[in-house]
Point group: C2
Chain length 335, copies 2
Amino acid sequence: MPTNQRIVLASRPKGLPTAQNFRLEEVSIPAAPEGGFVVRNHWLSLDPYMRGRMDAAKSYAKSVDIGAVMEGGTVGEVIASRHEKFNVGDFVTGRFGWQHYSASDGTSATKVDATAAPLSAYLGVLGMPGVTAWIGLLDIGQPKAGETVVVSAASGAVGGVVGQIAKIHGARTVGIAGGKEKCDYIVKELGFDACIDHKSDDLYEALEAACPKGIDVYFENVGGRIMDTVLALMNPFSRMPVCGLVSQYNAATSDDVYGLKNIRSVLTNRIKMQGFIVSDRMELWRPARADLTKWLADGKLRYRESVVAGLDAAPEALIGLLQGRNFGKQLVKLI
Amino acid sequence: MPTNQRIVLASRPKGLPTAQNFRLEEVSIPAAPEGGFVVRNHWLSLDPYMRGRMDAAKSYAKSVDIGAVMEGGTVGEVIASRHEKFNVGDFVTGRFGWQHYSASDGTSATKVDATAAPLSAYLGVLGMPGVTAWIGLLDIGQPKAGETVVVSAASGAVGGVVGQIAKIHGARTVGIAGGKEKCDYIVKELGFDACIDHKSDDLYEALEAACPKGIDVYFENVGGRIMDTVLALMNPFSRMPVCGLVSQYNAATSDDVYGLKNIRSVLTNRIKMQGFIVSDRMELWRPARADLTKWLADGKLRYRESVVAGLDAAPEALIGLLQGRNFGKQLVKLI
């Protein structure tokens, strides 16, 4: 008899998570609840925000409790249903957690068209990362044609889409990423105008050379030294959507947190810096997905996936993601 | 024969300015230029932004050149005119500099009603500081009734108005200022709900106690440790108009700049942080002044002035202002 495997939070990490913070459990497959359904997950998405959920500290969302299933978005197929809108055979995406089988009341679930795009795209370019890129760049960043847009973690699931949307809107687009291989991909595959390796010693000079007219929009994914450097190059009336600060998520104590020196640029350049979370703006998902689906069909959105096979590989893959070891959207193939 | 005295920038300061950075000059009184006028200044305003003008470094406005008259707002009387709109005997306010007599083409000049309020009020509550408070709080901060507004440098020319406007809009209003005397004034005279002495060791605890529902709007005048502490107490979807960072203006090197640790709150709480300069928003001066004039007439706006007598006292008074030694709006009485 098949069983359900799931990964729960075993303990809270100090600094970078380790394998010991996770525990694989084997339980029975849930039955469809009254008014709900059961989904068999095909793909699990791994994302930087998951690090925040592992802490007890206040974040924008509730922590995962010790012993609870790790949170995560998946895409899969409905295998049993007592829900009036979701039928057996439907493909759905939702916040179904790190497990093979999930019971749901449908709250976070969205049906997807498995014939329009590969299923995994609904966790990346057509899913939360793509919608995040769209909302942060277009609703907060508002780039105009001819302006310069810089995005960090530019080969990642969000950053890659940000830069391509910026190009579609006629902006000069500069990525920041770790290493030559990622930078080559960003320029040659994704079509950015330039890419800066943040591991280089002369980050400021390289960025200044790549942005001869300064920076009008900075889409922030990483924080720390990179944020500080970019601040010094921001233009008057520039915008900084703050989507993530992944370089700071593993700081175990305040001493490990980077001390930002260039905040004065916010005043002198009248910068608008604004944090956002994609789930606050549910009303924008429909227009965002419509644009993203069209751009993907038109061949204007390229993406890359890092895939590991099997649920038991998820913890190591998340740890790698938090260190920038992934290349593109990080996924776990469950089937 | 009377002469014109003026103060010019003698050299650029490193860190806190000293008297040696200024030079008093005696020159002849200017004649009214074609299409312009000459104003005899009664009051000179001293403001924290002046520190930025003394640096060669890029700021939001052009530096004062070495040997040029120090920039500053004044209010005075037109004593000679070849301007079609400004007549001898008119009282005017404008950016006329640190001097007794100024020639102007009228660009920065506004006529004021010397019977409606004391002349000096046009440099404070009805002038640039009052309009700055109005724009930053109402246009960027947008406090709602029942929300909590915190303002730093709360006994200053801008901060005092911010808190009183916040009260008018029904917000709980908490000031931050240096010392018991200023805090007493802020609560007892200006009507704030509470005031925290930033010199206390337990700034975080004191602020937390004064803001039991967290902070919805933080009007930033000072930066540094106070900004960092406030960031940790900001609410979801809170707003931070950044008006000044006076604690950082005298940093001579990057080592002297405070390293901000709590920027992550911008992300987790989806804070909107926005720098602004009152001169960018000229279209808002008219509605701002209309409100301020009405509130002043209705007895809803109180203010205090620190006055020094004589132009030669201006440098020391500015140095004191940058260290928080003033109490209320800092003015130089020229006549």
